[in-house]
């Protein structure tokens, strides 16, 4: 039995998971998620790991590999680090085995990742400009509008005449939103406009990695925003991008899942290499 931990230190939240990988069977044992909210992310990562291990009924010594991803390169208790593309690709395949592309939409940026059935990254594109196409921007706007994160998606779905915002710059987009509020544009129409701008950029990424006729899994924190998912499907239909986009209730854990599964893989590989070295 190989217990492996995956820690995804994102910009907005830290996610920790524990997996048991035995004889090729992958079993998700426990999880923990914590919003960062201006606290020490490294301390939170350690706490999230400890809680996930406790929930798994294990001790830290039972964990064969602690894998990190996201912004966690410098955590001093990790065994190894994997980059976000690598982990979201593997986590995406775990959550949706049919997926051949992963659209990771996090707090700071979005990226489209083309993958094969093993979770190997075949190509990727990511948003290169500023944060207007990101979860952090949406969260800021929600705060200005006085609504909670959970209300964003359902409100966006109620829009009847959405107003598009700048898709280039978060500062301009925020100015757009202030103007809309002063023009008494309804909250659903503002939110839908933001989702449409974000969706247009994300579809461009998917087109850039040449995803066609495939299932795309949405991962990252924004994958749970049903308003964005709806806007994305509309944008894909409008731009004739023939893909089937899906979200998953555990999409936010994709990075941590991928890290844990790859960590278990590395643990087995290194153990085999050590045994070979000893035998020779």
């Amino acid at each position: 039995m190989t217990l492996a931990a995956g820690i995804d230190l994102g910009t907005g939240a830290v996610k920790a998971v524990i997996f048991d990988v035995t004889d090729g069977k992958i079993n998700w044992v426990s999880r923990h998620i914590e919003k960062i909210r201006q606290r020490d992310p490294h301390k939170l990562a350690r706490e999230a790991l400890d809680l996930a291990i406790k929930d798994a009924g294990a001790e830290i010594g039972d964990v064969g590999y602690i894998a990190t991803t996201g912004e966690a390169e410098s955590l001093d208790f990790s065994t190894g680090h994997f980059y976000s593309m690598t982990t979201h690709a593997r986590g995406g395949i775990y959550l949706e085995p049919e997926a051949r592309a992963v659209l990771d939409i996090g707090a700071l940026h979005g990226r489209a990742i083309l993958v094969d059935e093993r979770g190997k990254v075949l190509g990727y594109r990511m948003t290169s400009q500023c944060a207007s196409g990101s979860g952090q921007f949406v969260e800021n706007i929600a705060r200005y509008l006085g609504i909670t994160w959970e209300e964003i998606g359902p409100l966006s779905l109620q829009a009847d005449d959405p107003e598009k915002v700048s898709s280039i710059c978060a500062v301009l987009a925020e100015t757009d939103v202030i103007n809309m509020v002063s023009r008494q544009i309804s909250t659903p129409n503002i939110l839908k406009g933001i989702h449409m701008s974000m969706a247009a950029r994300l579809v461009k990424l998917l087109r850039a990695v040449k995803v066609t006729d495939a299932t795309v899994l949405l991962t990252g924190g924004m994958a749970s925003d049903i308003g964005l998912v709806a806007a994305l499907n509309e944008a894909m239909a409008g731009q004739k991008v023939d893909v089937n986009s899906k979200s998953h209730p555990d999409s936010i854990y994709a990075g941590a899942i991928g890290a844990a599964i790859w960590g278990a893989y590395r643990h087995d590989k290194l153990t085999r290499l050590d045994e070979l070295a000893l035998a020779s």
Binding site: Y65, G80, H81, F82, Y83, L270
Partner: protein
């Protein structure tokens, strides 16, 4: 500035001391060395290689001038050069015109590339009363041709230095200096070997700083520093991480910012060999300490010196062999080509080297930097995904 205190043996103290030397763009350690005794002289040199033994034998301090790094704002230096060349000549000019090198009694400009050669010309125009020399090396490696030429080049260098000091460099003094540099190179190799075996203990950015200290300290002090570092690092308990092992290639002249070295390591790559500051280990075997020292130095250059883009490889099939050998000997899993922007030697060499690696199925990536590069995120992403590829899809 404090000189090296022998009872300061803790790893942090050693690294902090090296960091202080690295950060000091006024070269205070070298200034202090010169000021400590009347009649002392300091000779600056640029990458890639000069025979420091001759400078030492003249009773002088060889001072490595490796540009201004990422803490020097280049204002005057840009006026001397066109925009489409590397940064090291501009920042070196900046160091000079801002009087940071005004204590230097001479400057050597090795035959690294046209830009460095042109810098030697600018230096002569700017400082006609200061000794400066374009130090050429042979590209023909036979004793009769290259050897004869190089011995003459070494003698001319020695005569130039004798002109500054007013005293003759004797064979005995030069052999003593060769002996000291032999010891120094052994220690440099020991540090590299320890890093190769336990890269999680001898971190690359620390090793980098330790080698940089050798650019400004007297060879005796640098050797002591490395001896102490080796002892301290063995005693250090640092966790081993699941990183891949890489060789960094192409950084032999303009140096990367320290953050770039740290970023490669942070991204999941243990650097097990590099070509930073090749002057420290250009000669790859002991130089004999008896007989004719000039001929011995020439023989060492011709027959067992390192390889880099500014040294000609006569046989085409041998091109890149040194890198493949290094991958095998250091048990590296990949190569990162990291060259300065506009570095003609490194960037023109790269296709030949990467071709040689590709033929051996050795993974490699490449990127460019400048000594003042500040944005490390793209490099971390690139090095990190390279490490992932090796760890997850490679053979090891």
């Amino acid at each position: 500035m404090d000189t090296w205190v022998k009872d300061m043996r803790k790893l942090n103290d050693i690294v902090d001391y090296c960091q202080t030397l690295y950060d000091d763009l006024n070269f205070t350690a070298a200034r202090d060395w010169k000021a400590a005794k009347p009649g002392r002289h300091v000779i600056g040199y640029m990458p890639t290689y000069v025979p420091r033994e001759i400078i030492h034998a003249a009773g002088m301090l060889p001072l490595g001038v490796l540009g201004g790094g990422d803490n020097l704002e280049v204002i005057h230096g840009d006026a001397y050069y066109q925009s489409y060349i590397c940064r090291i000549p501009r920042s070196t000019i900046e160091l000079a015109v801002t009087k940071r090198l005004n204590f230097v009694d001479g400057m050597l400009f090795p035959s690294t590339c046209d830009v460095i050669r042109n810098l030697s010309g600018i230096w002569k125009l700017l400082y006609p009363d200061v000794y400066s020399r374009y130090f050429d090396v042979p590209q023909n490696f036979t004793s009769a041709v290259g050897g004869t030429y190089y011995v003459q080049e070494l003698r001319e260098l020695a005569e130039g230095l004798e002109g500054i000091s007013g005293t003759k460099i004797t064979d005995e003094a030069l052999n003593r200096s060769i002996d000291l540099y032999n010891k120094n190179r052994r220690l440099v190799n020991d540090v590299y070997n320890v890093r190769q075996v336990t890269p999680w203990k001898a971190l690359s950015w620390e090793v980098y700083l330790l080698m940089r200290a050798g650019m400004v300290l007297p060879v005796e002090e640098h050797s002591q520093l490395m001896t102490d570092y080796l002892a301290a690092v063995q005693a250090e308990d640092r966790p081993k991480r699941d990183n891949c092992r890489v060789i960094v290639q192409g950084s032999f002249c303009e140096q990367p910012p320290l953050n770039l070295v740290k970023s490669i390591e942070l991204a999941g790559c243990y650097i097990v060999d590099d070509d930073y500051m090749l002057v420290n280990r250009w000669l790859q075997d002991e130089v004999p300490t008896d007989g004719n020292p000039m001929e011995n130095l020439a023989d060492a250059f011709l027959n067992y010196s390192g390889e880099t883009a500014c040294k000609y490889v006569p046989e085409r099939e041998d091109k890149g062999k040194f890198l493949i050998d290094a991958v095998r000997e250091r048990r590296a899993e990949g190569v990162i080509f990291a060259a300065p922007s506009f570095c003609d030697p490194a960037l023109l060499d790269r296709p030949m080297l990467s071709g040689a690696l590709a033929r051996e199925n050795i993974p490699h990536i490449s990127f460019k930097y400048a000594e003042n590069s500040g944005q490390m995120q793209p490099i971390r992403e690139q090095a990190g995904t390279f490490a992932d590829t090796i760890k997850l899809w490679g053979e090891a």
